[in-house]
Structures are given as structure tokens and as C-alpha cells.
């Protein structure tokens, strides 16, 4: 079998195919040095947990340890392929610095203790605050990396038991806008499209979505189409020259903060040229007239001026999109973490609605996810929604949920939208949230304006619980640290961005006294003695499969219907897409075929919000707008970003991911191949900006905004002028400072980002801040250590190419 260095070649070997053909199988695997496939004791079914693509894989177990992974040939998502994070990232499970015993703070220091002491401290403080202040004192901030069963159990505890509305996930930072945009347009969350749309599309438009780095295997699928007969045309919207931009037919590198202007320009051109499906609009859509009026006064020249892109490029993009026969669109952080996030993402849906391009092969919208199990936080109600896509402002839905849980509807807080993460931190800052329980996430690195976040988390009056697998920056500030088991050490299911549900079986025992997150939540529910209205225990299950069965009942009849699934059906499957019920036992590949939507007033998940103010619509307003359950077109006005580059801070600062890391490097930095591929942060600038300021490749620069400063070495790349880019993964846990920059200079990009969020989705804006850049040290001849294989590809030919060497040889088996 051929060996490939998958650090140097992240997307591996091409297997070209044509439109409508099946994507060929290619099985990728990587095993620990010295272990051969025939030495493996057991292969245990799972899927990837380091990004949202949902690649099916088998975990290799030898002598009770994880020793590698192999792609699942029969999986509908990846057809056997794995990305670099999948191939190498599993090594974090075996890292020597895993948390193995609970810790409690004593005299200012975290010291080891036993589970009973730690959990009594957690439950005791919660009980005390519930007596003293009530549920408004208690907040939960979870992740996008747990399993469905754990989110659902957490949602039952928080919403149904404790009765707090303060429960959100870090999916707020990556995916909240995807959910919000889908709710605005279709009345419900849930991806309309399927990854198989790549096999059929003749035009693929990627909006702020660097899929080559965020979902490497999905990009591999696109690369294989591009290498085959009749390849699709790509339209790319991104200020950087990403691998997607390099492969694109048209690349629009618009000025940060101008996505709505760009989308309105595209829609203007599409409507003006009559590239619309009038019949579809008449039969299945409301709101088109308003859009027509709004974009009529927004000619391409005006949009191009605001966005600073050539008008002809904008026209060409509109022509490609407007004349596509099978159009696939994907959207991610370049829109979601930018100014007017939801308004811009909704305009992508609008393109599909005016063109009638939904529910058929090749005609899909994928409002993407960043985190691997983000979809489950949304379904289960662990991210500021009610479970099963129930509408918090529909009393019938709340009564139905109360029936499922056997509680009084008054016990489920629904007087206002559930509290989003940024507001929870605000309440903690004010002092009204006094207990914050953080699971599997690292706000001390991932939230904007870190100095503020650290000061909130470090308050004496805030009782902070952190449940995680490593002593993250956030865990270092906690009052109690609970050691959790992770992927491969526990059983559960999770769902990717195209609604594919995978089962992940337990392969090995967790280290030391670490316990599955589900077991910890069940222990908490027991200690708090949470009861239903008949006095029986509120949480009625004791294991993962029991939680899954309970969730199936909760989801029955709702859009995300899991009632036709079971562990037995998922075991051995190549992934099954919800909704899956008695009528659709094989799952559902595409939603909204023939223009049938889930937007009827009595069924929809949300009545929608004002795209500028975020104010929710009432049921009366929604009924008047959409009595017949059609799709909803919502127009949006462009407003300038709240912080503008200029004067003292002349550059736009934008942040983002790199292919080799995930989250805050908690796991990826513990995989040697990934860590070596991108060992330290860097700053990107365009050749023109660098030469004007006299900076050269590798020079140490200081980047500052009104919030703070960081230092990083310069990588000169082809991107739009006036922009600086910082990768956001890097924090302090692997530096002497521990949980912050200490006396040294900062390196976390979020020292610099602004505290501002989209009023509709409440997603923070990480893509638009005003910054200045200055030289700290000239470093002649030492290039930055940024990867050369990705968007950070250098303009200089002198920089050595990123490679993984002998330790990164993975196998590829082509059939």
C-alpha cells in the first residue's frame, strides 16, 4: 500500500470522478510506529471528533490502548478518507498529561481529591445558590465536542431540573449563525443539503468557507471532481488567498465587514438578469417583493465600491451562480464571525430560493458547522434552544416538552430566548451568575477580549467548575476540575453538518479516575435530587443507550426525528441522516424536496428575528407573514461595521483556523506531527503592506488593537492589502505563563478581538477589528514557522516546505 506524508499532502492522492458518478473509495489509515494492521486486537467503530465533517473511522486497539485509526470505506461521508487531524490527532488520548483525578482549589491552589469530595463541593454550592438566589445564579457553558446523549442529559438537568435558561455551547462561536440563518429562511434548523451534492453540482459557491482547511475530506471530494471530467466551477468569497481561492474560477476578496453589500450586489444582478424561478417563488416562498425592492437600488457598481472588488468579477460570479443548473453553496466563519453575520448568511439562502435550487441532487445549501458535534448541541437544546427544535415562544411546544419530561411547563424557562454565551459572561461580570459549569471548552482562549474574560473567570464571587481532559487555561482558573473521559473511552452518537448520525463505541478505558461526561452529569442530577412532578427521578436513564432512547422520544415528530434510529441500526452502518422514522427508515438525504418546508406557524422552530436589531417576531407577526408554511426571503440593509480600520489602527485584523489545529490546540498540540506542522502563531500580511512598512518574512511583529497586543513572526502571503491575519488556536497552557500572557507578550489572537456580536445569532465577531502593526525585531533569514501548504503559503520561494517526514507516513489504499 502506498505511504503518503499527509502533513505535506493534506488532501492525499486524487481519485477523479465525473458528475453523477459515485465518489471512489480510498481508505486512509495511520497506526503507531511498529504496529501493523494485522497486530491490532480490535477495530472499534467511530467517527472523527476534531472537526465537523463527520468522517467515519475505526479505532485500532492493541493491549487496551488506542494505537491508530482507519477510514471506513462504506461510510457515506468520507468513503474511507481521513484528514490530517483524524490521522494523527487520536494520539492526544494517550497524552501523559491527561487529567486523572478531580482537583479542588485549596488556599488558592488546585489540589487532588476524590470524586465524592469534588462532586459534593459542586452540588453543595449549586444547592446553596439555588436557596439563596434561585436558578438565575446558575449557568452552564458546554462545547461542540461531547456526544448527543450528554447534551440531552445536560439540557434536561439545566432546563427541566434546575430551571435555568443559562445554558449554551461554544457552538455559539462557530455555528450559531448557521442555525439562525436556517431558522430565518426555513423556519427550522437543519441543513437542506447533503455532502453528495458535491457529486452533482456544476457550480459550487463557498462563502467565507475555507473548506480545504476546515473540512479537509469534503475538500478532497471537491478536488476529485475538479480533477475529473466536466468539473464544477468554484466561486470563492474570502479576503485571503486560501487553497479554495486558488482553485476558484472567480475569487472575490472583499473588504472585511462588507458581506451583506456583496450578497446584495449578487442578488441585484441575478434578479436584474431574470435568473430566477418565478414559479418556485410564487408557489413556495414569501418575501420576494421586499428583496426585489431592497436590491433594486443596489447596483453592482455600488456593491463593488463598498466591497472593494472589481465590478466585473462580481458580475462574473453572479453569472456563474445565476446560470448554474445545479448549485451547491456552503457558508462558514468568514460570514458567521463577521459583521452582519446572519443577514449575510440569509442572503445565501435567498439565492437558492430565488433560483428554486433546493431538495434536488446538486442543489443544496450547507450552512456549515465548525465543531464536530455542534449539530447535537442545537438539536438537544444545549446551545440556547429548546430540545427537538421546539419553539420557546410557542406555548404548545413548551407544554409538549413538559409532557416528555413530566414536569410543569412553568418549570421550563421560556419567558425569553435562552441566554447566549456572551450574555452569560456579562451576567457573571455583573455578579448575577455566580456558578458557572464549563464542559469541554476553553473560554479563556476562545472568547473575544481575553483580558476581560480572564478577569471574569478569576473573580472570587464566581464558582467555576471545569470538566475537561486536560488542564486548559480555563481549568487553571477553576474552583473544581473534573477529569473527563473522551472519544474512544465512552459510547455515544453524534451528528455532522449534513445530518449524518454516527455511533462511536467505547474502545478503551479512560485513564486514572477520569469518567465519561454522561456519568458526571448523572451524578450531579442525583446529588441535586432532581425530580419530576410525580416525585420520580427527573433523569430516568443510567447509560448512553438509555439517554439515546429517551432522546428518540423527545425528537419524535419534530424535524430532527431520530425515532427510527437505534444503536443496533447505527452499528455497522455508514452513517444515517435524520429525519429517520417509521416513514423514512433509511433516513433523509435532502430536506425540502418539492418546496415543502417545516415553517408552518404551529410547527416551526422560530418565528424569526429582525435582521438588524435581533428583536424576535411575535406569533401574530409570523402568522401574518407566513400563514401557509412557505420559505421566507428576508432582505437586509447593509450597515457599516462598528469598528473601522483607520487612523491609529489602520489595518483590519481577521482571525481564523489552520488545517493542522483544532479548538485551542488542547488535543492537536499533543499529536507530534500536527504540532510540528504549525508549532507557533504567526501573522500574515500582503507583500505590498509588508514592503511599505519595511517588514520581511520572519520578522517579529507586534499587533495591537484597542484591547491589547500580541507578538508573532511575519508570514508574507497573497492576500488583500490592508489586512492582517492571526490564527486563533494558540494560548498559554504550553508556555510558562500558564493561563495568560503573564509578564511576557501575548500570543492568543483573542487578546485583540472586539466584544461585539451579531444581534440575531449572538455569534461574536472575530473577523473585524481595527489594528496597528509594528516591528519588534528584525530576523533576517529565519522564516516564520507557518505552514506552507495552506492559506499561509508564503510568497517567498526561500521558505522550506512544511513536511511531516518519516513519522507522518500514512497509508492510502485505493480500490
Amino acid at each position: 500500500m502506498p505511504h503518503v506524508d499527509r502533513i505535506a499532502e493534506p488532501w492525499g492522492t486524487r481519485t477523479p470522478y465525473g458528475p453523477g458518478e459515485p465518489w471512489p473509495v480510498r481508505v486512509d489509515s495511520f497506526l503507531e510506529a511498529g504496529v501493523r494492521a494485522q497486530d491490532v486486537d480490535r477495530w472499534v467503530q467511530s467517527a472523527t471528533i476534531l472537526h465537523s465533517n463527520g468522517d467515519g473511522l475505526d479505532i485500532a486497539v492493541k493491549d487496551g490502548r488506542v494505537v491508530g485509526v482507519r477510514g471506513r470505506a462504506e461510510d457515506r461521508v468520507n468513503h474511507g478518507r481521513l484528514g490530517p487531524k483524524d490521522l494523527y490527532g487520536w494520539q492526544a488520548v494517550n497524552a501523559p498529561d491527561r487529567l486523572v483525578r478531580p482537583l479542588v482549589r485549596q488556599n488558592g491552589r488546585l489540589v487532588e481529591t476524590d470524586w465524592d469530595t469534588a462532586m459534593e463541593r459542586v452540588a453543595g454550592r449549586a444547592r446553596q445558590l439555588l436557596d439563596e438566589q434561585g436558578p438565575s445564579a446558575i449557568g452552564f457553558y458546554t462545547t461542540g465536542q461531547l456526544f448527543l446523549e450528554e447534551y440531552y442529559t445536560l439540557a434536561v438537568i439545566a432546563h427541566g431540573g434546575i430551571g435555568t435558561s443559562h445554558l449554551d455551547g461554544n457552538t455559539r462561536l462557530c455555528t450559531a449563525t448557521a442555525a439562525a440563518a436556517l431558522k430565518e429562511s426555513f423556519g427550522s434548523d437543519g441543513q437542506p443539503g447533503s455532502y453528495t451534492d458535491v457529486d452533482h453540482a456544476d457550480v459550487i459557491a463557498l462563502y467565507g468557507h475555507n473548506v480545504a482547511e476546515t473540512q479537509t475530506v469534503l475538500w478532497t471530494r471537491i478536488l476529485d471532481r475538479l480533477a475529473g471530467p466536466n468539473p464544477p466551477a468554484l466561486v470563492c468569497v474570502d479576503p485571503r488567498e486560501t487553497p479554495v481561492a486558488r482553485a476558484a474560477t472567480v475569487h472575490l476578496a472583499n473588504r472585511p465587514g462588507t458581506n451583506v453589500a456583496l450578497m446584495n450586489g449578487l442578488l441585484h444582478e441575478i434578479i436584474a438578469n431574470g435568473w430566477i424561478d418565478e414559479r418556485y417563488l410564487r408557489d413556495h416562498v414569501v418575501g420576494f417583493e421586499e428583496l426585489q425592492k431592497r436590491v433594486h437600488d443596489f447596483p453592482v457598481e455600488e456593491a463593488a465600491r463598498i466591497c472593494d472588488v472589481p465590478p466585473d468579477a462580481l458580475r462574473e460570479a453572479a453569472r456563474l451562480i445565476g446560470t448554474a443548473r445545479r448549485l451547491l453553496s456552503t457558508v462558514l466563519q468568514g460570514f458567521y464571525q463577521a459583521h452582519q453575520a446572519t443577514a449575510a448568511a440569509v442572503q445565501v439562502n435567498n439565492i437558492h430560493l430565488v433560483r428554486g435550487m433546493l431538495g434536488r441532487p446538486g442543489c443544496g445549501v450547507l450552512q456549515m458547522n465548525g465543531q464536530p458535534t455542534a449539530q447535537n448541541t442545537r438539536e438537544c437544546g444545549a446551545d440556547g434552544d429548546l430540545p427537538g427544535f421546539r419553539n420557546w415562544s410557542n406555548d404548545t411546544h413548551v407544554r409538549d416538552l413538559a409532557r416528555v419530561w413530566n414536569v410543569d411547563p412553568m418549570d421550563i424557562p421560556h419567558y425569553a430566548p435562552p441566554t447566549h454565551a456572551m450574555q452569560m459572561f456579562r451576567y457573571a461580570e455583573e455578579g448575577s451568575i455566580r456558578f458557572l459549569y464549563v464542559t469541554g471548552t476553553n473560554p479563556a482562549v476562545s472568547l473575544p477580549e481575553l483580558e476581560r474574560i480572564r478577569s471574569i473567570l478569576a473573580q472570587d464571587r464566581l464558582f467555576l467548575v471545569v470538566q475537561d481532559i486536560f488542564l486548559s487555561e480555563t481549568a487553571q482558573l477553576a474552583d473544581v476540575v473534573l477529569p473527563a473521559a473522551t472519544w474512544a473511552e465512552k459510547t455515544g452518537t453524534f451528528t455532522n453538518a449534513d445530518r449524518t448520525v454516527h455511533l462511536s463505541d467505547k474502545a478503551v478505558e479512560p485513564p486514572g479516575e477520569a469518567r465519561p461526561d454522561l456519568d458526571i452529569f448523572l451524578d450531579l442530577a442525583h446529588r441535586l435530587d432532581l425530580r419530576d412532578k410525580d416525585g420520580a427521578p427527573l433523569v430516568k436513564w443510567g447509560d448512553a443507550e438509555g439517554a439515546f432512547e429517551a432522546w428518540k422520544e423527545c425528537s419524535r415528530g419534530r424535524p430532527c426525528d431520530y425515532s427510527g434510529l437505534s444503536y443496533a441500526r447505527l452499528r455497522g452502518s455508514g452513517g444515517i441522516q435524520w429525519p429517520c422514522d417509521a416513514d423514512r427508515p433509511g433516513g433523509t438525504e435532502r430536506l425540502y424536496a418539492e418546496g415543502r418546508f417545516w415553517s408552518a406557524p404551529d410547527y416551526c422552530e422560530a418565528y424569526g428575528r429582525d435582521l438588524l436589531t435581533g428583536a424576535p417576531l411575535s406569533d401574530t407577526e409570523y402568522k401574518a407573514l407566513n400563514p401557509d408554511g412557505k420559505a421566507i426571503i428576508k432582505a437586509a440593509e447593509y450597515v457599516p461595521p462598528h469598528e473601522q480600520a483607520g487612523g491609529e489602527f489602520p489595518f483590519w485584523l481577521t482571525t481564523g483556523r489552520t488545517l493542522y489545529h483544532f479548538h485551542t490546540r488542547t488535543k492537536t498540540a499533543r499529536a507530534p506531527q500536527l504540532q510540528r506542522a504549525a508549532p507557533e502563531p504567526w501573522v500574515e500580511m500582503s507583500p505590498a503592506d509588508a514592503s511599505r512598512d519595511g517588514f520581511a518574512e520572519g520578522d517579529l511583529l507586534e499587533i495591537a488593537t484597542a484591547r491589547g497586543s500580541v507578538r508573532a513572526r511575519l508570514r508574507i502571503t497573497e492576500m488583500r492589502d490592508g489586512l492582517v491575519f492571526l490564527p486563533f488556536h494558540y494560548g498559554y497552557w504550553d508556555l510558562p505563563g500558564g493561563c495568560g500572557p503573564g509578564a511576557g507578550s501575548g500570543r492568543a489572537a483573542n487578546e485583540l478581538t472586539i466584544t461585539d456580536w451579531d444581534p440575531v445569532s449572538k455569534q461574536p465577531l472575530f473577523k473585524t477589528a481595527a489594528a496597528r502593526v509594528s516591528l519588534v525585531e528584525v530576523c533576517p533569514g529565519t522564516p516564520s514557522l507557518a505552514p506552507t501548504t495552506t492559506a499561509s503559503r508564503p510568497v517567498s520561494a526561500e521558505v522550506p516546505a512544511t513536511a511531516g517526514g518519516a513519522e507522518a507516513q500514512a497509508e492510502e489504499s485505493l480500490s
Binding site: 419567558y415 425569553a416 456579562r426 436589531t613 435581533g614 428583536a615 450597515v639 462598528h642 444581534p759
Partner: protein
């Protein structure tokens, strides 16, 4: 015809609403959504003030097209908030008081736009009717924002 009276009153009340929004934004700088959205919404009032000054010319009015300050209003707001809050310094309660005031101020503007639209129809003044049609929906959005924020903030501020 007393159309000039309505235009003059709207010009005043839109100016006041802008002031309420900006003052609110300034007071709640650490409540980030309030800070940013209030400023976005004040821009609408400023646009309305300019449009009203322009429209007023036809009715013999010489109104300032640039948004004006009104210190006495600020004083009133401070007094009102202080009165409502008593000795309680909690920012959540202050926010609630300010949104309550904003809601009332925006209601006043909304009513005035209705009066103007009615008057314009009675007097067959198409331009004025069009102005009301363009501006009033934005006032209603400002009003709904205040209402939504009140509902959202009240439980934590009042039941904690």
C-alpha cells in the same frame, strides 16, 4: 393646515429619540449588544431628522438638519432612572430602566409618524406620505427592539 406642527414635533421627537439611544449606548458601554445596536439605531433617527428638515422647507419651517442635543432631556432621563432605581446601583436594573424609557420615547415618535401619515393623506401630500412610509417602519423596529430587550432582561434583573 397644521402640517408644519406635526413636522416640527416629529423633528423634535426624533432628535430626542436619537439622544435617548446615544445616551443609552454611552451608559451601557459594557453591555455590548446594547452599545452597538443603540448606535446603529440612532443613525436612523439622524436620517429622519435630515429628511424632516428638508420636508419642512415646503411648510415654511427652518429646521436644523443636523441632529441636535437636548441637555434638559438628558437631565430628565437621569432623574427618571435615578428615581426608578432608588439606591440600587445594579447595572441590570439601570438597563431595564433605560429600555423602559426608550420604549416610551420611541412610542411617542411612532405616534407622531402616524399623525403625519394621516394628515398627509387628508391633505393629499404624496411626498409627506412617502416620507412616513419610509421612516415609520424603522421607528417600529426601534420600538420592537426596546420591547424585546425589556422582556429578555427583566427576569435576570428582577428575579435574581
Amino acid at each position: 393646515m397644521n402640517l408644519d406642527l406635526v413636522i416640527r414635533e416629529l423633528h423634535r421627537s426624533e432628535n430626542e429619540l436619537a439622544h435617548v439611544l446615544l445616551r443609552m449606548s454611552e451608559r451601557h458601554k459594557t453591555d455590548h449588544e446594547t452599545y452597538h445596536v443603540a448606535r446603529d439605531l440612532a443613525a436612523w433617527c439622524h436620517d429622519h431628522v435630515r429628511a424632516l428638515a428638508e420636508a419642512g422647507k415646503d411648510y415654511g419651517l427652518d429646521l436644523d438638519p443636523s441632529p441636535a442635543g437636548d441637555p434638559s432631556m438628558v437631565e430628565r432621563l437621569r432623574d427618571k432612572a435615578a428615581e426608578w432605581l432608588g439606591r440600587r446601583p445594579e447595572p441590570g436594573l439601570l438597563l431595564l430602566a433605560d429600555f423602559r424609557h426608550l420604549y416610551l420615547a420611541a412610542s411617542e415618535v411612532s405616534l407622531d409618524w402616524e399623525l403625519l401619515a394621516q394628515a398627509a393623506q387628508g391633505a393629499k401630500q404624496r411626498d409627506l406620505l412617502e416620507l412616513a412610509r419610509r421612516c415609520h417602519p424603522q421607528t417600529l423596529r426601534q420600538l420592537r427592539w426596546a420591547n424585546a430587550r425589556l422582556k429578555e432582561s427583566a427576569p435576570q434583573a428582577l428575579a435574581s
